[in-house]
Each structure stands twice: as C-alpha cells, then as structure tokens.
C-alpha cells in the first residue's frame, strides 16, 4: 500500500504504448494496402512497425509524456489556482472581494449556454457573483496578443535571453520535486519498492539560484535605470538569504543524514520519537515525526521559511521589483508575453518554495490514507487496483496551499524592507540563528538527544 494515486511513469508508459499501438495499426493498414497493390512481401512498412512498437521508442515517448504531464500539472493547474488564491486572499485582507467575474459576465455565454435548462445554471449568474477563477486565464490570453517592445538602447541578445533563462530555471525546479511516491521524474525505484533520489534537494537549491543571475542580466541588458537598480538589488538580496538557507538545511541534514526528498518524507511519516540521551526514548504515537516538531530544528524552520520568502521574491523581500519605488523593478522594459512569463513564474517559484518547506519540515506528502477503493485494473485484467480516498497528492497539495496562504498573509501584512535592512536581517539575524541551529543539532546528535 503506497497511498499514491498517480503512478506517473506507469501511466505514461501505458499511454505511450496505446498511442504507439494506434500508430502501428495505421502503419499496418498502409502495409496491407501496399501489399494489395502488389508490393513484395513482407511489405515496405514492416520494419517500421517493429521499430514503432519496440521498447526504446515506447520508453522515449513515455518519458516525454511524463515530462509534459508534470509541466502541465505545475503550470496549468497549480499556477492558476495559486494565483487565484493570492488575488482573492489579499483582497479579503483589504476588506474587499477581489476578482468576481464569472461565466455569466460574458453576454454571449449568458445568452446562448445560459438559456439551456439545468446545464446553463452557472452561466446565468449575475456578473458580480462569480468566483473570478478564469481572470488569470484572461490575463494570459491578453498578454499573448500584446506587442513586444525591445528598447532601442538595450543589449538585444541578453535582453531576450534573460526571460528564457528565468522561465527555464523556474520550470527546472519541478524536476526534483516529487508530488508523491509515484508522481516524480527524477529518481529511481529500488527493488523493495522505495524510491530514491540522493541529491534531490541539492538540485532544487541549484535551480533556485539561477534566477537572481538572470535578473541581474535582465536588469543590465535593459539599459534602464530602474531595471539596473532592480538587478543590483537582486544580487544583493541573493547574498543575504542564500547562506542562511543552505546553513539551515545543513542543520536539518545533521538530523536526517540525507538530501533525498523521498527518504526525508519516509523518515517524517513515522510516529514522533525523541531520543532523551541516557533516559531512553519517548514516542508520541498520535503525532507524525515532522522535523518542525524537533526542539532544535524549528529554529532552522523559521530561518528557512524566511529565506524561502526572500527566494520567491514575495513582498517583505520583493525589493528587486518594488513597484512603489522602481516602476516595475527589473521587469520595467519587458512587455507582452515576456513580461507575462517572468511575472507569472514568480508564483511557480513560490509553489516550489512551499513544496520544499513541506518536504523538508512538514512531512511532505505523508498523511493518513483513510480508506482505499479497489477497482478492477484495466492494464492487467484480473487484478484489483487500489484507489486511495485521500491520496498523497492531496496531502501534499494541501500543505503547499496552506504554506502559500501564510506567504500571502505575511506578504500583505508587513511593509517592504530596504536593501540594507535585508542585508542586516540576513547576516546579523538569520546567519547566527542558523549557525546556532547547526551547533545545537550537532551537540544533540552527538549526545543522543532528540
């Protein structure tokens, strides 16, 4: 029993086999027609059919499908929901309702689909009673049609390369973020069924640190004073949060002994256990062994949480953008979809940061799987297939959204810090705290405590 709903590689392998089977049938049809037309046996397409149904091509198509499913899952599903949560939530914090456009706001839809009885109900709602969920999609469609303006004095190549670098590095974050025991791309399954990916967290951290460099490039290449200031601020901000971030992870590694997201989650799904040195161990069976409950590692958690907010450039630390001071910061000169991508992918970084917090300190995708429904398996007839009622993906998504709500809550409640303030926060508060966490963790581990 795993509790994972989605087996990404299994599913995409089945889908790839099915697609290639259709292709082979079409090729077989062509082969049959050419045989009827008098081609020599075994027909001109016979070798091609063997290649199409062979194992190498099936694996390749399966991997490509898996990659696309993961990218769509992150961008088309979570990105939209998270942007909607942010817009609704900060509106509530400002005592207003936020975006309210619904399907009924479109006169065409109201007059056509809305006239249909029963089905047309959501389209008949008055325009101010919707949930506004599709507002972000509408913004995206609008940005798609917008003109792209390249400033005459900009460094053209770097100006256009920087958004590609930012978008690519942001998407690359999701390679090493597993969504459950079955929904992952980077890793390998051991014979005993466990999944391992020994350097997963390190890959995520590496992908995170590419973006500030691209921001610096974008700020310089735009040849604009605001963007230059924004880029330089991004560099200064990177210097202030990166070290406490890595050091707080080191404090965690002292206890966990691994950087493998799968193993970290496996460790945290056990009941809460404290070692008390010479007094034996204490177990609290009704609490999970999350690292945030550790008497020492919560210091690392606080440091890591703050640095992730800085990493995602959310409001207390969004000084590279700082729309009240620098127009739109380093994105000032970008327009059209280039602006849309660099602006929208900030939320993707927030999702990845929240996922990293959940994996490292909050038990990742572990959670109670209350019941499973057994349905007949289509792929292997005669076998039953367990469908968990509350799958691991549900728990992980829930934790990510909960952390993101805290991000929004903090972000719209506190003022933006200045650049010298973030350097002081990083080097005079977070750095000593994380070093303290490392020392305490080492000491406790050496004495057998916690």
């Amino acid at each position: 029993m795993t509790g994972a709903l989605i087996d990404l590689f299994g599913w995409s392998y089945a889908l790839a086999s099915f697609l290639l089977w259709i292709g082979a049938q079409l090729l077989g049809l062509g082969n049959w027609i050419s045989l009827q037309l008098g081609a020599p046996s075994p027909g001109p397409l016979e070798g091609m059919i063997g290649f199409v149904t062979g194992a190498p091509l099936t694996s390749l198509v399966a991997i490509i499908l898996a990659i696309n499913i993961l990218l769509l899952w992150a961008t088309a599903f979570h990105l939209l929901i998270v942007m909607w949560i942010e817009r609704k939530m900060y509106s509530r914090l400002q005592d207003r309702r936020g975006i309210m456009l619904g399907l009924g706001s479109s006169e065409i839809l109201r007059n056509t689909l809305g006239r249909i009885p029963l089905i047309g109900r959501p389209f008949r709602k008055a325009s101010h009673l919707g949930t506004g969920f599709l507002q972000t999609v509408a913004d995206g469609v609008k940005l798609f049609q917008k003109e792209v303006i390249t400033p005459a004095s900009a460094d053209k190549w770097m100006f256009h390369a920087a958004p590609v670098m930012i978008a690519a590095s942001t998407l690359f974050l999701f390679i090493a973020i597993p969504w459950s025991d079955g929904f992952w791309i980077m890793g390998s399954r051991l014979p005993n069924g466990d999944v391992v990916n020994p350097w997963g967290v390190l890959v995520i951290l590496g992908a995170f640190s590419v973006a500030p460099l691209s921001i610096l490039i974008a700020g310089w290449a735009s040849n604009n004073k605001y963007t230059l200031l924004g880029g330089m601020r991004a560099a200064a901000q990177l210097m202030s949060y990166e070290i406490p971030m890595v050091l707080s992870i080191i404090a965690l590694v002292v206890f966990a002994g691994t950087l493998d997201p799968f193993q970290l989650v496996r460790q945290q799904s056990a009941p809460l256990t404290f070692g008390l040195g010479p007094f034996g161990t204490v177990q609290i069976p009704w609490l999970p062994n999350w690292y945030i409950f550790n008497p020492i590692l919560w210091i690392a958690f606080v440091v890591f949480f703050i640095t992730v907010i800085a990493e995602a450039e959310r409001i207390p630390f969004d000084i590279p953008e700082a729309e009240a001071e620098l127009v739109e910061g380093w994105t000032t000169e970008y327009s059209g979809m280039r602006f849309g991508i660099v602006f929208g992918f900030k939320w993707l970084r927030a999702i990845a940061g929240a996922a990293l917090i959940a994996i490292l300190f909050l038990g990742g995708w572990s959670g109670p799987v209350f019941a499973q429904v057994w349905i007949p398996n289509i792929a292997s007839p005669g076998n039953l297939w367990p469908i968990p009622i509350l799958p691991q993906e549900f728990w992980f998504t829930l934790k990510i959204y909960a952390i993101f709500v805290v991000f929004v809550w903090i972000g719209w409640s506190v003022p933006r810090v200045r650049i010298d303030q973030i350097l002081n926060i990083g080097w005079k508060r977070l750095l000593p705290l994380s070093l303290l966490a490392i020392l305490l963790a080492t000491l406790a581990r050496g004495m057998g405590w916690f």
């Binding site: 004095s153 330089m232 890595v246």
Partner: protein
C-alpha cells in the same frame, strides 16, 4: 553502471531541454497572434514619459562589497559543511569531529562579525 546512470538521468536531460523549449516556444507562438509596430518613440527607454537622460550601463557603485566577500567565503564553507553533515553520521559520538567543526564555525562567525562591524565604519 554507466547504462544505469544514463537510464536515471536521461529523463532529467530531456526535462532540461523541454524547460528551455517552453519559453522559447511561447515567445515564438506569440508572434502569430500579435502585431508589432515599432516606432522611434515607442522604442525609447522608459523613464516615466520623459526623454531618457544619459546611459544606464554605468560603473555602478556597488555598496555591499564587504557582504559580497563574506558571501564567497561562506558559499565555499557551506559546501564543506554540507559534505561534513552528510558523511559524518558515523562520527557523531566523536568529540574531535565536533570540536573541530565547532572551532571552524566559531572562527567564521567571529570573523564575520568583525567584518560587519568594520563595514559600518568603512562603508566602502
């Protein structure tokens, strides 16, 4: 072993290519849907509507030089600490291992504080 590594990291390499193709493809796709009409006024650098004054690619006075130097030191030290934390599960009981790493951290911490105190006075 090599084929095992290839099997494990081939999806990663493919994913990296896809992540690069995603923005490039999006930017090319917008070409179909949009209409560009550049003009000399439109292509000016944005300075809130004014005619831009001077160059922006200047020798920027980077005030946080001391922080940058300490950052480099800590960046390297962080890698060492990470390796130490990962590899030393066998040496938790050892006093020597703990004492040496505590000494290392203490030296770095004191030096950082000294540098930051100096930075307040000097402000390069």
């Amino acid at each position: 072993m090599e084929s095992d590594l290839l099997a494990r990291y081939f999806p990663v390499a493919l994913f990296a290519i896809f992540t690069l193709l995603f923005p490039v493809g999006t930017f090319f796709a917008t070409r179909i849907l949009r209409k560009d009409s550049p003009g000399p006024l439109k292509d000016l650098t944005y300075e809130c509507g004014e005619v831009p004054e001077g160059e922006a690619m200047i020798q920027f006075h980077f005030q946080y030089y001391v922080f940058a130097i300490i950052f480099v030191v800590f960046d390297v030290a962080a890698i060492f600490l990470l390796l130490w934390a990962l590899s030393s599960s066998a040496t938790w009981g050892s006093t020597v291992a703990f004492a040496s790493i505590a000494l290392f951290i203490a030296i770095m911490f004191i030096a950082t504080n000294y540098a930051l105190k100096k930075e307040e006075v000097l402000y390069i």
